[in-house]
């Protein structure tokens, strides 16, 4: 990898109260790379993800320590406003969570409205929905309720919503785990297209998904980073026996 380092995590620890959920994790993600984070449930991979845009600290009793650099600037630095950080580091959740009381259109531009509607919203609307591969399906009902969409469409709407604020990084927390195989395939295609522009960190339970979509794969176990490397190597020739056992399905 010759690309510049976009996200540089060093010795990151995260706690929920007294539970040590992420233990001393160090990972680097290159610009426009896709990092897949795999591991069994409760291994700290979602918590790791939520530390990158400082969503973790919103849970009562949760805290994090360590260094997370975004383009060389410490995300946990004293002068960083997490609100502004989250506009640079977008997030897509496990279950589609469109705003139910808003139309499809308003959902997409909700983040822009927070910034005070700076540009031509119709242009943003079409661009983001097109990028999220949803435009053709919803262009005739932009004023309708997002709840009338299928789960997969709702998830793509949430991706469009995250793209509208023009983030540099996209965090995806098991974005396809609540979807059927066809919708999952569409999300994966989308990840392929989005990596042209964005740096993506993808948490997934699905090892095939990690293998298909990512450049780098990190394997977490019990809060520790066991191994991180090029995806192909992790799946074909891992250094650690625990990684091998997990990716070959011996446990987890």
């Amino acid at each position: 990898m010759t690309a510049a380092v976009k996200i540089d995590v060093a010795r990151l620890d995260a706690w929920f109260g007294r539970v040590h959920a992420v233990k001393g994790v160090s990972i680097q993600v290159p610009e426009r790379g896709v990092l897949a984070v795999i591991g069994p449930s409760g291994c700290g991979k979602s918590t790791f993800l939520r530390c990158l845009n400082r969503m973790h600290e919103l849970v009562p009793g949760a805290r994090a320590a360590g260094r997370v650099l975004l383009d060389g600037d410490d995300v946990y630095g004293g002068s960083v406003d997490p609100v502004l950080l989250r506009r640079r580091v977008g997030m897509v959740f496990q279950r589609p969570n469109p705003f139910p009381a808003m139309s499809i259109r308003d959902n997409v531009i909700a983040g822009l409205k927070l910034n005070g509607l700076p540009r031509d919203t119709d242009e943003v609307l079409e661009r983001c929905l097109t990028q999220a591969a949803l435009w053709d399906e919803v262009k005739d009902r932009l004023g309708g309720s997002p709840l009338a969409l299928s789960g997969g469409q709702q998830q793509r709407l949430c991706i469009a919503r995250a793209l509208a604020v023009e983030p540099e990084v996209l965090l995806m927390d098991e974005p396809a785990s609540a979807l059927d195989p066809i919708a999952t395939a569409r999300i994966e295609e989308l990840i392929h297209e989005l990596k042209e522009r964005y740096t993506i960190v993808l948490v997934t339970h699905n090892m095939q998904q990690a293998a298909r979509t990512s450049d780098l794969t990190a394997f977490f176990y019990l809060g520790e980073l066991v191994e991180c490397g090029p995806t192909e190597q992790i799946f074909t020739n891992p250094k650690e026996s625990r990684t091998e056992d997990y990716v070959t399905g011996k446990f987890g």
Partner: protein, 328 residues
């Protein structure tokens, strides 16, 4: 489309008689007993409501036909001795005091609920909730007493002169600062309905799914913006319900209002003026209502109050329904 044979076979299957097991279940004795018990409980409730309305109407009938229902509602003169019954000043008093109460209590109550649900440190939540519940438990006569001996003097000086000085260009804040009157009643009502609005709103806000709020925060919303774009729209209908509950209590509140409103049938634009409310008249006059006409008039006031509550409820529901249907 070609799978016509498939459709045909499906149709045949559906046409076949249901198996005995399915038919038996429809006759399940426990279910039927349960269902009919529920229906009769529900019916009983409706019947009681119906009996109350019908008997009130029967009681009010002599006065309504003597005065004429329109004149009864729109007339402004109330004199039981001369047999003149016009309820408008009381309707006005009830509406104005309830409006003042809603205007004061909704922002505070909903704000308190939002604070407790979204912003407050956990340690603060319990004591504040406890204080709110305590407010809800105070009997209304105690509110009235407090209003009369504590609130009214404070309103007389300095609150009303202050309002008159700076907001006196509005007709609402003109006239002599007496203390007693619409404003005093409205403030007491506001305090009384605050716990209802705050606690019901809080329960509703607690049901907002965390992922929805996180969705807003992940877009770079501040906590307040997340409340505005995610929590409040989700909780809107429920908060509206909380306000309706509060309004219902304000409309019907008798004792506390009677003690501070001044009990004088008059219609004034100023909130400083004394007035009268529908429940207060009924409470003050029921003991001396000896003639059929007078009792009939009080029953008529009861009907008007009931109608007012139903009408406002219906209106509010209509409003909520419309905002919700806009997206469907």
């Amino acid at each position: 489309m070609s799978p016509a044979p498939l459709d045909a076979s499906l149709g045949k299957e559906q046409a076949a008689a249901p198996s005995p097991a399915i038919r038996l279940r429809a006759l399940n004795l426990g279910d039927r007993t349960y269902a009919s018990a529920l229906v009769s409980f529900g019916g009983l409730l409706l019947a009681v409501a119906g009996v109350i309305v019908v008997s009130l109407a029967h009681l009010a009938q002599p006065t309504l036909s003597a005065t004429g229902p329109v004149h009864f509602v729109l007339g402004t003169d109330w004199n039981p001795v001369s047999g003149s019954f016009g309820a408008l000043p009381f309707i006005y008093g009830t509406l104005v005091t309830s409006a003042v109460a809603i205007v004061l209590a909704v922002p505070v109550g909903v704000g308190l609920a939002v604070f407790l649900a979204e912003m407050s440190p956990r340690a603060l939540r319990r004591p504040v909730s406890f204080a709110v519940e305590t407010l809800a438990g105070i009997p209304s006569v105690v509110y009235g007493l407090w209003g009369l001996f504590v609130l009214v003097p404070i309103l007389r000086d300095p609150v009303e002169p202050f309002l008159a000085k700076y907001l006196g260009f509005l007709p609402l804040f003109r006239g002599p600062p007496i203390g007693l009157g619409f404003l005093a009643a409205g403030v007491v009502l506001a305090i009384m309905i605050l716990p209802t609005i705050a606690s019901v709103s809080l329960e509703v806000l607690k049901t907002v799914p965390a992922p929805l709020k996180e969705g807003a925060l992940a877009l770079g919303a501040t906590r307040w913006e997340a409340v505005r774009i995610a929590s409040l729209p989700f909780a809107k209908a429920g908060i509206f319900g909380a306000v309706l509950l509060g309004l219902g209590r304000a409309l019907g509140e008798t004792m506390a209002v009677t003690m501070v409103i001044g009990n004088s049938p008059s219609i004034h634009a100023s909130l400083f003026a004394v007035g009268y409310s529908l429940p207060s008249v009924i409470a003050n006059e029921f003991a001396e209502a000896t003639t059929k006409l007078h009792t009939g008039a009080l029953a008529g006031l009861g009907l008007v109050l009931l109608g007012l509550a139903v009408a406002l409820n219906g209106l509010a529901r209509l409003l909520v329904g419309r905002t919700q249907r806009k997206l469907a």
